[in-house]
Symmetry: C2
Subunit: 311 residues, 2 copies
């Protein structure tokens, strides 16, 4: 049971965390801080926080759990701001989508308090942002990746695991670098491509006529293009080496597909589509549990190089 949650950032992710923790009966009181006075007022009105703090440090003071739910580029400043207010047994956790930069910022900002920090990435989100969209169910059934450091206190890590599991999440541990490489491939690159799809359309005189006939395939494919620009600016910049490497691999695959179109090679095109379909179908089957997930050794969790299932 958390006596006081200090919420730094009261948007979709942070607000949903507070609501989920309340729903689970795991928190007595939530003190929130946001740089936006309007957000803070809405968070209080919506019952996301009990009390509005006037600084990050004030939200951290007296809290046994401090959650940073900010664009990843703001992590270092926020950690520096809370450091002196942290109780000796308090745990600080983030929910950022990149971990290498967050861990480096934490090492610099927290110094000898680094052991109290647990880097976390819940694989959840929506294409809308802001506390108005916060919901207790956002994290239901999602995967949470923890990337603990050598310095991370075992008790802090245990608390983080227990909390996310109490919210209905599956929790695994990975090194920060393995995390960043993996999410570059399956999250950051898709976002970059979705942004490029919309920008490419936007540059055409026929965009309106095309969008007028767009159907459910387009809807799902482009959904993530509506994501928060500041959040995704920070993520793509923080992980740009991995993202650019993934884009190169994607472009090579696109080249191969286009080459079959250019030479009108039906059998080769069909084979490339078939291999894409096969991998997507295997992944989906692993998700729904009807087949062994790709790269794992059992039915219960994901795995592969760099991933270890948490108990």
């Amino acid at each position: 049971m958390i006596q006081q949650l200090g919420l730094i950032g009261c948007g979709l992710m942070g607000g949903s965390f507070a609501l989920a923790l309340r729903r689970a009966g795991w928190v007595r009181r939530v003190t929130g801080y946001s740089p936006s006075a309007h957000t803070l007022q809405r968070a209080q009105a919506l019952g996301v926080i009990d009390e509005a703090a006037d600084s990050a440090g004030a939200a951290a003071a007296g809290s046994d759990l401090v959650l940073l739910a900010l664009p990843v580029g703001a992590t270092g400043r926020a950690l520096a701001a809370v450091r002196e207010q942290l109780a000796p047994q308090a745990v600080v956790m983030d929910v950022g989508s990149t971990k290498g930069d967050v861990v480096a910022a934490a090492a610099q900002a927290l110094g000898d308090r680094l052991g109290q920090f647990v880097p976390a990435h819940p694989m959840a989100g929506r294409e809308v942002s802001g506390v108005e969209h916060a919901q207790a169910s956002l994290y239901d059934g999602c995967l949470v990746i923890l990337t603990p450091l050598a310095d991370t206190r075992p008790q802090a890590l245990d608390l983080a695991r227990s909390l996310w599991q109490a919210l209905g999440c599956r929790v695994i541990d990975m090194p920060p670098q393995a995390h960043d490489a993996a999410v570059a491939a399956v999250s950051h690159l898709p976002h970059l491509l979705a942004f490029a799809l919309m920008n490419g359309l936007d540059s055409q005189p026929g965009a309106a006529a095309s969008l007028a006939v767009a159907g459910p395939g387009f809807r799902d494919f482009s959904r993530i293009a509506a994501s928060d620009p500041v959040m995704w600016r920070d993520i793509l910049l923080a992980n740009r080496q991995s993202v650019l490497a993934q884009s190169l691999s994607f472009r090579a695959a696109l080249d191969r597909l286009e080459a079959t179109l250019q030479r009108g090679d039906g059998p080769a095109l069909e084979a490339l589509i078939e291999s894409a379909r096969r991998l997507r179908t295997r992944w989906q089957a692993g998700q729904t549990g009807s087949l062994t997930p790709i790269g794992t050794h059992g039915p219960d969790g994901p795995g592969g190089p760099g991933a270890t299932a948490a108990s």
Copy 2:
């Protein structure tokens, strides 16, 4: 009321059409043909068709509506096969995702029967295929694009419109070329990119570890990569000029995004993401009817160059 529907191709699209027509009470009897004996047997067992025909021509004989639901590359052969069996007042319709090639194939295969043909493209589909997945609700609320020819009989066109509207669809007319250009942008390119995403992943040693952490963003973005390979081979080949042109525009947009990453230009990157988000959000608002759809002059339907709302 259709006395007899001749269904040529009994997969997801054709099977769902027959089921939807039955649900609407618009058909008395369905005669089906599929080159696969197994499919034909399943279609009968599932109540999709009443009677199995042993050729496309036999399914067309005595039918007042003949529906072709085949990969677009097979359209010409199927039309040639049914031509001699067509009753003088019968209507032939397809559901293919490209229209320029279908119209050309029809002109060649049907000759003086061309007036009986209505080219149609319902903007519906699923990432699964086969008659097992056919469902009466597949076309509920979807957009259907008709691309009538100068030769198309007004009565045939009226029947096609009435039918789709009876199935709960919104129906518009467009010239075949405008159709192909529009769907290249919002359907065919997204499929090509989804195939390339999966193939790019497949080529990496870390694919399993990456896929193990893929979440809902990846699920929706990659859904269409599981589409039917033969159907999409035909579509991409039939519309390859437009698809390649769309891919060029997409690559230019991707170049602009990557350039901001390479030079670490946060403000420029944020602006590009913001413009992608804005277009996607406007489109979504138009879909749900809370704002005027992009490129239209009223609340009731899509429009823009080349599109005219059907009554």
